[in-house]
Amino acid sequence: MVDVSIANIRPDRAAVASQWQLIWWAFKRHKLAMAALVVTVAMYVVALVPGFFAINDPTAQNARATFHPPQKIHFFDTSNGIEFGPHYYPMRLTRDPNTLAAIYIEDTSRKVPVTFFGRGYTYSVLGLFETDIHLVASADKARPLFLFGADRLGRDVYSRVVQGAQVSLSIGLVGVCLSLLLGIVLGGISGYYGGRIDFVMQRVIDFVLSLPTIPIWLALAAALPQGWPATLQYLMITIILSFTGWAQLARVVRGRFLSLRTEEFVAAARLDGVPESRIIFRHMLPSFSSHVIASVTLAVPAMILAETSLSFLGLGLQPPTISWGVLLREAQNIRSIATAPWLFMPGLAVVIAVMALNLLGDGLRDAADPYNK
């Protein structure tokens, strides 16, 4: 990629470039943030069509594969010369003669080829249409491929992590959208009108910010009836998370409103008789939207972590809904993680997602700051 920095862009171009153009140039210089952007986009693509990236049906149980260890895909066959052909060796279940514990042994005599864009279980794409094409598919349905191993019910951990991305990654976005809505309305009113309204709103924001979030979330989540349908539960959890999340965003919006209120261009617009709503949406909003976007990007990972913690404690989403937090419940007791350390894989997914979003948000914040050299 050609290194594009503000410095070597011709000054005449920089002078007429729009604000978004300038932010994009500044952002592109930030290598780590660019990498984070790529990872984030890739993860959200997976979250959009998890069925395509999954290998086995994430809900299918398999009594013959409890705590099945992870398998490797071999790309070259070296049995007679070197030959390209992705394949894996299925594992045979035997028992330890003394303890009767399950032992899986790789059966190298049987080779199962792996096909790309092959056929597997049927899934629905965003509820629009159904298909059975998968990125990776195994040729032998009776001996499934467990890329990240299997859990205590023999369900494929890899496919479950991929499927969980949909709920875990979207809950952050939906929750942040709700918080943003509340934050912009309340923070906007507070910052725009000032005075007594601002004073009251400030106390409310201070109060909400001083609350310890997790005990409050726990108490709120404990109030949810266990038997609710998954979609309603999902909605309620996002509402619970936004209950405390809006205050931070409201504070950002208010601060921006306060500093912009006294700017000359706002005063000029007001003197020209521009209606209030147009001043807010046409003149003020565009000039601080970049800051808001950066704050929002930094709020998403916090929401993801919150959902994971709540579901992990059993007060968030409930199985059969698949989210990373729900999956990590399987890793709750020391006995199961000692036998199957691959149950930590959903945790790795959380760490990667949160790290990528944090780096992305940081990069955006730096790029959106016009005083940042």
């Binding site: 109060f207 005990p215 409050i216 726990l218 108490a219 913690s309 992990f312 993680i337």
Partner: protein, 339 residues
Amino acid sequence: MRRANLNAGVPMLKFIIKRLLWMIPSLFAVSFLAFVLIQLPPGDFVTTYIATLASSNEVVDQNTAAQLRERFGLDQPMLVQYLKWIWGIVTSGDFGISFEWQQPVSGLIWERMALTLVLAVASLLATWAIALPIGVYSAVKKYSIGDYAFTAFTFFGLSIPSFLLALVLMYVAAVEFGQDVGGLFSPEYETASWSIGKMFDLLTHLWLPVAILAVSSTASLIRVMRANMLDELPKPYVTTARAKGLSEFRLLTKYPLRIALNPFISTIAWLLPNLISGSVVVAIVLNLPTAAPLLLQSLMAQDMYLAGAFVLLICALTLIGSLISDILLALVDPRIRLE
């Protein structure tokens, strides 16, 4: 100069009184919130109690249920229940009765709350002790290998959920060292009364949860400290001090560090809620005898007065944290108390 010094105490005192007065409505708001929160679940403890009995084939008739409700005051309107509850707390420190344990809430909570506070304060101190030198180092040696290593650590620390870190450490301890790291006491001290031996035992167990909790807060604090120092370092007064021949260490500690510490103190306000809030999940995973596991249990069982007392006390603790941070900040920075 002398006159200014004499008068400095008055605005400070005014500020502290004003801030203390603000605590009163905040505490009431918190108590009301806690009460509403624990009232939210549909049904009450009696419903849950009957359901538990029903699952073991015991039937409770309507009369007994009504009697139980009357005894616990559950048949009254919510506001009346709240006023009774808060009146009991304010006048005699009576937090009501735990339905599940059949004993006064105040007998159950204090030791656990004290341990929660010990854990939070220990984590806070650990966070400061680690974050301060690393933050300064990262700023002074900007873009060095050490700086990059610490930056990588901070990003990792911010991304890993604390309960996951606790699980991984438990796994490592159990599989690699064959040790059980849960709890805050060795079995022989668990029910013993407080003694020097028990205190020492607590210290040997405390480091793990403290380390886990300190990771994420240290990560954010290092970044705050580094940014603050980077703002101060290029300023002319630093150059002046250097030109006058001050040693680099003395120069750092005497001027820029003191100014950069300012936002550092204000972080207590959000660090303490974060630490207490974060300790909830870690304490449940590690099965620590702090407030959190009992809070979770009481929420599940709709043991409302016990849950309410915990939510109230945890919230009050964070409010006090922000009070302390505001007062410290006013002591350090005269601009705030004159505002």
